[in-house]
């Protein structure tokens, strides 16, 4: 009969294999033999937090350049190796970290890791490639400047995170991208890229110990002296009264809006209560109460939802919507009304139970693919949630009470101190 393959259990300490190489690289690995593929991801502390205001976008420019040529291989040669076998590899950059991810058939994992190691250790920043990339980045910024959602998001972050690294767009501005030199990039790479603090996760049709060996073979010898520590995050400047900004974009038929405030860090004890509360507010079903009020009942928007974005430092708790420019004020009023109701009466017993059931029920779906498991195990490692986090997840979710939700809501949401950013005509 069927069911010959054992059902995967939730990832936990027994099947997430952990190793730390002598140079400080942490490796997390988990097997999944259901498909002949592997997924890989990770990060190292070389993000935008290290760059100056004048050179905004430097960290991002550097990560985007790593695969543009190394001491032994050209841009075209690197991608030819990858694409010939249907593998992919890419780098990205955030405030704290440079991150990477890739996938391949399991037979091509050594190739994938070799190219990862080369890109990290010996990028050559070829002049021509840097200029080509610069033109691409500048076009990206020109497209961003015309995107109502991007511009509203940017204005929101700038108001909420004043004089804080989180308030700066990590892809920079046209003038800062123009000012970055090849030397800036080489210096940044030299100072910040190294094995210390690097984490890599591999999930797929491979035994964990074999995965560790493969990583060690190409990255075990990486030594960098004087890797600089990241500066501490400055405290957030409080929002004393509601702040508003409208970014005018002519010729657009829809405006985007972001209304929100600071949110908890991922590690904060109230995170789960805030997250479940947010689910009721603007996620559950057809985008929670916000979706119901703005889209279902008033027909004002195609999308309206709230989200809680939490990481290492302070997060954001925000409501996003895209509406006809004539309805902007109406939509803002409706959203403010929902926020007031949310902090006054919290969530009902039934609403909380619904969202709790949703969180528990959807867990297997989020862990279905190899890449889903990669990001799950990177998260528990990064936010120090404990290797048994997913096994204890159900009890974490169930232990949240209505009182916890209202307490978290009141801690963060104050309708008199909102940040409201809009972009459109």
């Amino acid at each position: 009969m069927a069911k010959l393959i054992a059902k995967p259990s939730l990832p936990g300490p027994k099947d997430i294999y952990q190793a730390v190489l002598s140079n400080g690289i942490t490796i997390l690995a988990r097997s999944n033999f259901n498909s002949p593929s592997i997924s890989m991801g990770g990060y190292l502390p070389a993000g935008a937090i290290f760059e100056s205001d004048e050179k905004l976008g430097l960290a991002d420019f550097v990560s985007s350049s790593l695969m543009r040529g190394t001491q032994t291989r050209s841009f075209d040669a690197i991608y030819n190796e990858l694409e010939s076998v249907g593998a992919s590899l890419g780098f990205d950059s955030g405030v704290h970290n440079a991150s990477f991810g890739g996938r391949s058939l399991v037979e091509d994992l050594p190739l994938l890791l070799k190219l990862l190691a080369e890109s990290l250790q010996t990028p050559s920043f070829p002049k021509d490639e840097i200029e080509r990339l610069r033109a691409q980045l500048l076009t990206g910024l020109a497209i961003r400047a015309q995107d109502t959602a991007d511009m509203a998001d940017m204005a929101f972050d700038q108001m909420l995170f004043r004089e804080h690294p989180y308030g700066r767009p990590s892809d920079g501005f046209p003038e800062t991208i123009q000012s970055i030199t090849r030397k800036d990039m080489k210096d940044f790479h030299h100072r910040h890229f190294g094995p210390r603090g690097m984490v890599i996760a591999i999930v797929g049709a491979i035994h964990p110990k074999k995965a560790v060996e493969e990583v060690e073979r190409v990255l075990g010898g990486w030594q960098v002296t004087g890797q600089v520590d990241a500066p501490l995050l400055p405290p957030l400047k409080p929002v004393r009264k509601t702040m508003k900004h409208h970014h005018t974009l002519t010729g657009k038929s829809q405006s985007d809006l972001v209304i929100g405030m600071a949110g908890p860090r991922r590690k904060d004890p109230e995170y789960m209560a805030a997250s479940l509360g947010n689910s009721v507010l603007g996620q559950f079903g057809m985008m929670g109460r916000i979706g119901d009020a703005v889209r279902e009942k008033s027909g004002l928007a195609y999308y309206a939802y709230s989200s809680l974005n939490s990481g290492i430092g302070p997060g954001t708790w925000e409501v996003n919507a895209g509406v006809n420019p004539a309805n902007l004020k109406k939509a803002i009023d409706l959203i403010e009304k929902e926020l007031r109701r949310f902090i006054k009466s919290g969530v009902t017993k039934e609403e909380l139970a619904d969202s709790q059931a949703n969180y528990i029920g959807r867990l297997p779906l989020s862990l279905e693919s190899n890449s889903g498991v990669v990001s799950a195990i990177l998260n528990i490692h990064r936010y120090e949630l404990g290797m048994d986090y997913y096994q204890r997840y159900e009890s974490f979710v169930r232990s949240v009470t209505r009182a916890n939700v209202i307490e978290a809501a009141q801690k963060y949401i104050d309708p008199e101190r909102l940040v409201i950013a809009t972009a459109g005509p």
Binding site: A2, K7, P8, N32, N34, S35, P36, S37, F75, D76, Y79, N80, E83, S84, G86, S88, R103, S104, L105, R132, A135, L138, T139, A142, I143, A145, Q146, D147, T148, L249, G251, K252, S253, Q254, F284, G285, M286, D292, E296, S298, G299, L300, A301, Y302, G322, V323, N324, D354, A357, N358, Y359, I360, G361, R362, L363, P364, L365, L367, E368, N370
Partner: protein
């Protein structure tokens, strides 16, 4: 990927496809209706997509917010989408909860209410969806390309429909559309995941077989006459970036030329779902500084549709230069035979993309129903074989046949205030 599937046609004509996959405690269920934007006459454009929205507004048994809460409460993921050729609804659920999805789909095949007030509120939601799309240069360019490429065939209009029709379509229009096309003999139910076929089939029969067969709705068919001569247009809008889109008429998915064209696409623009930095067009256009990006896209369609190449122009270059470079690359494919190794490479890329897809049960259920819309499931299972049988001569022949300037459309989005 090689698990066998069970295919059954119920007494009322509904096709059922079942595939057991026991790798995770998940089941994904998709119901497909043979109706899409290509079935809409002038004056009713966008009605299939709007009907899809109305299917979330409830039945007597599952009123609107009971419906979505019930699915979400079980941790399910659900959504729907409308394409040119079909409309599909799916639920991916923990395996022991799939019955809810099946009951819901059986119920809303016939019992959706289409309340007048809900129609009114959804009208503004869809208008807002269209306005959001109109913010994007690529939407505007793509819509105009379709308008130019199809004068007669209903692939002429965008799936979301024209604003004029979104303002005037009535509740009764929507309801008539729903009752006409949502009949079991016009539907395919595809389920993949952690179940046993026999009891699953029994349950499907219990729920769906009592739904009476309807009149099989005819599909709107107005074949597009051959295009005689290159069409060229430009549109303006805000911004500073110039985009170029070129569209070539392509055969439908069951045409034998479809497969050599897939190989040709992966040579020109890379394999779908992978990076494409060593594709011929990327090397010629981006590496050489004519463009900052280039990509290609085709669809597996019932009737002949389009292959589109989209170029994001380099700010210091003229769009004509990029088009000339593209023409030179196509000429090479028409005159020179590609290496066998290039075909082998395209097959390996496809094999990897198939392996990634097999990690995901929702994806596997999708492909069963999707292929049933324009062919049979064999189309999917024999895909890699057919690709590997393509010869260099095939590639040259289809390059000559389908990539003629006289049957293409070139559209340019020129930013205002940039002299374009």
């Amino acid at each position: 990927m090689t698990n066998p599937i069970t295919q059954v046609t119920l007494k009322n004509g509904m096709k059922v496809m079942l595939k057991e996959i026991h790798t995770a405690p998940i089941i994904s269920s998709w119901i497909w209706y043979r109706v899409g934007s290509r079935d809409e006459p002038t004056g009713k454009t966008g009605i299939s997509h709007w009907t899809e929205h109305m299917q979330f507004k409830g039945t007597k048994k599952f009123p609107a917010n009971v419906l979505d809460k019930a699915i979400s409460r079980e941790g399910g993921r659900w959504n729907a989408s409308t394409s040119h050729d079909s409309t599909r609804y799916y639920e991916t659920m923990p395996a022991d909860k799939i019955d809810l999805a099946l009951r819901l789909e059986a119920d809303r095949m016939t019992n959706s209410i289409f309340n007048e007030k809900e129609v009114a509120s959804e009208r503004t939601v869809i208008i807002s969806e269209r306005e959001g799309s109109e913010n994007e240069p690529m939407f505007r360019l793509g819509e105009a390309i379709q308008n130019y490429a199809f004068r007669v065939h209903p692939y002429h209009h965008e799936i979301i429909g024209d604003m004029a029709d979104l303002r005037t379509i009535t509740r009764d229009d929507l309801y008539t559309h729903y009752r006409t096309f949502y009949v079991p003999n016009n539907a395919v139910l595809a389920i993949a995941g952690d179940f046993e076929t026999k009891p699953m089939l029994k349950r499907v029969r219990e729920l769906f077989e009592p739904i009476p067969r309807g009149i099989t709705p005819p599909r709107l068919a107005r074949p597009e006459p051959e295009q005689k001569g290159e069409l060229h247009f430009s549109i303006n809008g805000p911004g500073e970036t110039t985009f170029i889109q070129l569209a070539y008429h392509f055969p439908n998915a069951t045409n034998p030329d479809y497969f050599p064209l897939q190989v040709l696409d992966s040579l020109l623009n890379g394999a779908s779902g992978l990076s494409y930095k060593t594709s011929r067009l990327y090397r010629a256009l981006v590496d050489k500084g004519y463009a900052v990006d280039v990509s290609g896209y085709s669809d597996a369609s019932i009737d002949p549709y389009l292959y589109r190449v989209t170029i994001t122009n380099h700010p210091e270059r003229k769009p004509e230069e990029a088009v000339a470079v593209l023409d030179a690359e196509i000429k090479k494919l028409q005159e020179e035979l590609v290496g066998k190794d290039e075909i082998t490479r395209a097959v390996k890329q496809a094999r990897a993309v198939f392996a990634y897809g097999s990690e995901n049960i929702t994806h596997q259920a999708f492909w069963m129903g999707y292929t049933a819309m324009f062919s049979t499931y064999d189309w999917f299972t024999t895909y890699l074989n057919k690709l590997s049988r393509v010869t260099p001569q095939d590639v040259r022949r289809v390059a000559q046949k389908y990539f003629q300037p006289s049957t293409r459309v070139i559209g340019i989005y020129s930013p205002k205030g940039k002299g374009g």
